[in-house]
């Protein structure tokens, strides 16, 4: 068999499996709804004799089919990328894809007609879903339809691949794009503007103005979402210090978030203690409590490295959640039901009762944390953390007291998480054990990894991608875990260093242009030794 045919058949099988999988979790139906939302097609309307849902479903399946064709018709290194080969390859990939999809349609269709309730085994596959998948036809007709449909789509995909993806005008597009970008960013005038110190203030000022004005415009739902993202930025920046800078893999990070949330809840809520202290008084108390817990956790696990540390901290995170839930501590912590009516801050006698206020407050918290992280990163302590991450033994031999520096990292990270917890509980006016599940730790760790470990802009980008995207794609709610997994795998394969990886400061040549001799003379004097 010719290599390109084999390649096409393989692509067909892979996409067949993908389509089957997407059908079994009923992602196809969700995607059809999503397309319906985008095209604003009314559910009842019919297009080309098909109902809108079916039509949208075919759009989605067609896109997968085109992709399969484009993949399957990829150029063999020994063959010319001719139109004929592309059509044959695309058709074969599509036919295999269609055969698998058709068999699936035939199988579920026949089972359904035979009265087997598939949704007892696969909860998503309701009879209605099968009816839509078969486009209201008999199983055999549906199967044949998919065979033909996917073959056509495969051929289309082949043409698309040859004509667009692999066409000559796209060659070197990366290099050309970079060139264009460089010519824009390194243009004389641009450099001049960038060198001007005023530019920075203007940019920061505009950003601040945007952050201040945005919450007034976007409505309650989006303010809530932006607030959540902000809280995850806080958590991410804290974990970034522990994991990204100091290299201590902490899987129980949610514990500190819980300590912050519970300290504000128990001290300001009317039940169970009725203390009702002021938010502004509780804020520092909560942060200090969280960082003390960080130190307390740190002491026993100090001598552990890597995987062992991860497991112990994982356990610690769960202990805090289970304790808060336990019947024994219910009179103290509110138990499984949680704590209601958590106090909100007041400013000049006015209570914070809108999400707009909280977005401002959370943004302020983020700015503070960014400021602190930035200062720490370029200090003796920050360098010591990074040295510990790189090689703990050598770091110690450089005079770094690894015990105290680890505790410092835990304490600072925990303080940020505590701040996040306080704002979270106060905004939601509620906190309970389910707010502090393991999933929070995993989310925060993922956003640090996806964003770029050790990088402040990376963490912010990661929070927006992992917490913001699911909100925008609300229909994907059920597939969030899938989405997470796919995103992490894809990121690790194509961009292991993260969305915005941390960059290192240029220290050596920082001031040389102004204050020191030009490089030429420095080179000439290199032979002579310093005093």
């Amino acid at each position: 068999m010719k290599a390109y045919l084999k390649n096409a058949a393989t692509a067909g099988i892979i996409f067949g499996i993908i389509t089957t999988f997407l059908f079994l979790i009923n992602f196809i139906g969700t995607a059809a709804d999503l397309i319906g939302d985008i095209t604003k097609s009314r559910p009842g309307s019919s297009i080309l004799g098909l109902s809108a849902v079916m039509f949208n479903q075919l759009i989605f399946l067609g896109l997968i089919g085109i992709w399969a064709g484009a993949r399957g018709s990829r150029k063999d290194s020994r063959l010319e990328d001719t139109w004929k080969h592309v059509l044959i390859g695309g058709a074969l990939a599509g036919a295999v894809h269609g055969l698998i999809a058709g068999s699936l349609a035939f199988l579920v269709g026949s089972l359904n007609t035979a009265g087997v309730k598939i949704n007892e085994y696969l909860s998503q596959i309701l009879p209605e879903v099968i009816r839509i998948f078969l486009l209201n036809k008999t199983p055999l007709q549906g199967a044949l339809f998919y065979l033909v449909f996917m073959t056509l789509m495969g051929m289309l995909g082949g043409l698309f691949g040859r004509g667009v993806l692999r066409s000559t005008w796209r060659k070197n597009i990366g290099a050309r794009r970079k060139e264009l970008w460089n010519s824009l960013t390194h243009h004389e005038k641009v450099l001049k503007i960038r060198a001007n110190p005023l530019t920075r203030y203007v940019v920061y000022g505009l950003l601040l103005l945007f952050v201040f004005l945005m919450p007034l415009q976007i409505g309650q739902y989006w303010n809530y979402t932006v607030g959540t993202i902000g809280i995850y930025v806080l958590l991410g920046l804290g974990l970034n210090i522990v994991v990204g800078m100091a290299g201590l893999l902490d899987l129980g990070y949610v514990a500190f978030f819980a300590i912050g949330a519970y300290s504000v809840a128990l001290l300001t809520a009317p039940t169970p203690h009725n203390l009702q202290w002021s938010f502004w008084l509780v804020l520092p108390i909560g942060i200090i409590l969280a960082s003390l817990t960080g130190i307390l956790l740190g002491i026993p696990v100090l001598r552990m490295r890597g995987d062992y540390l991860a497991i112990v901290t994982l356990g610690f995170g769960e202990i805090i959640r289970i304790l808060s839930k336990s019947v024994l501590l219910t009179p103290f912590s509110g138990g499984p039901k949680g704590v209601f009516n958590v106090g909100a801050p007041t400013l000049f006698g006015k209570p914070f009762n809108s999400d707009v206020n909280f977005v401002w407050l959370i943004t302020l918290g983020c700015l503070l944390v960014i400021f602190v992280t930035n200062r720490l990163q370029n200090s003796r302590v920050g360098r010591a953390w990074e040295a510990m991450r790189e090689d703990e033994t050598v770091a110690q031999a450089m005079g770094i007291n690894t015990l105290t520096h680890k505790l410092m990292a835990f304490a600072i990270g925990a303080a940020f998480a505590g701040l996040g917890g306080i704002l979270f509980a106060s905004r939601n006016q509620f906190t309970g054990p389910e707010d502090h599940s393991l999933m929070v730790s995993i989310n925060v760790l993922s956003l640090v990894i996806v964003g770029g470990m050790g990088s402040i802009p990376g963490v912010i980008a990661g929070a927006f991608v992992l917490k913001g995207l699911p909100e925008i794609l609300r229909q994907l709610e059920n597939y969030r875990v899938l989405f997470f997994g796919v995103l992490l795998v894809v990121m690790m394969v194509i961009r292991p260093e993260g969305l915005i990886p941390g960059s290192r400061q240029k220290l050596e040549l920082q001031h040389t242009d102004k204050s020191q001799a030009p490089p030429d003379t420095a080179d000439a004097s290199e032979g002579s030794s310093p005093s």
Partner: protein, 267 residues
């Protein structure tokens, strides 16, 4: 000449294996002192005892008139001992100059609060460290490479950077662990010159583990030989070269006399 480092009956055991066996050593101030021996003789274990990574089972380590026993590695660095490693152990994802600035850790004092508040003292200290770092880079011949990641530097440069990082902690005694490992003859000549320069210009005492006999004989003033954890000989390069025990340790029993025969025949 006063003694800067002294070990008395230093012993370290791993289970039944005695890696370092009752070693007495006295390193004079501002000398270049080499420790040699076949593979597995206990040289690196000896280093690890001095720098506090292992705690010895018996014996004494006296540095600058005070015992080092029971001190953690970071405390020992503060006392004035720095080291390099057999297989280069730089902070590879940090730049060259950042590596050196980590080396300055023991010379700096700023703490967490000062870092956040950016006090004038901290600013001054950071600026000084940066300037010193640039000077050290120049001293080891790496000017202009300071902003490269350590792992992207060529091998020879990494070795030099490791020395620069060790020098940053302002040591009285520098422990080099096979400084010319993996170098070609030209590079190791440079390294020899560099080691002499360290002692002559900075007044640092050098204790060195080395396998390259050309380097050992060319640069050392005093040599100690370890074999199976015990010190079997000590003396000047000339004395060591003629010592039959040393030749036996390296080449096996009977080798010394065999070599002598060959030497006699060839004369």
């Amino acid at each position: 000449m006063s003694i800067v480092l002294e070990t008395r009956k230093l012993t370290k055991q791993f289970g039944g294996l005695t890696a370092v066996n009752s070693v007495d050593l006295a390193v004079p101030e501002k000398s270049i002192f080499s420790v040699i021996g076949p593979n597995g003789a206990g040289k690196t274990t000896f280093y690890n005892c001095i720098t506090g990574f292992y705690s010895p089972d018996a014996g004494e380590i006296i540095f600058d008139g005070k015992s080092l026993l029971g001190l953690t590695p970071d405390k020992i660095t503060y006392r004035g001992i720095a080291r390099t490693y057999q297989n280069i152990r730089l902070f590879s994802n940090m730049t060259a100059i950042e590596n050196i600035m980590v080396g300055f850790h023991s010379q700096m004092h700023s703490n967490l609060a000062e870092a956040i508040l950016h006090t004038p003292r901290l600013k001054r200290e950071e600026k000084e460290a940066l300037e010193e770092g640039r000077r050290l880079l120049q001293f080891v011949g790496l000017s202009g490479l300071g902003d490269h990641l350590a792992r992207n530097l060529p091998y020879g440069a990494q070795r030099r950077l490791e020395v620069a990082r060790a020098l940053a902690s302002n040591p009285k005694l520098l422990l080099l662990d096979e400084p010319t490992a993996g170098m070609n003859p030209h590079e190791s000549s440079d390294m020899m010159h560099f080691i002499r320069q360290l002692r002559d210009e900075l007044g640092i005492t050098i204790l060195m583990i080395e396998h390259d006999m050309r380097v050992v004989m060319g640069v050392s003033e005093q040599i100690a030989v370890l074999d199976y954890g015990s010190k079997i000989a000590e003396g000047t390069p000339l004395e060591i070269q003629g010592n039959p025990m040393v030749i036996e340790a390296y080449l096996g029993r009977g080798a010394a006399s065999g070599l002598q025969n060959i030497a006699e025949k060839s004369v």
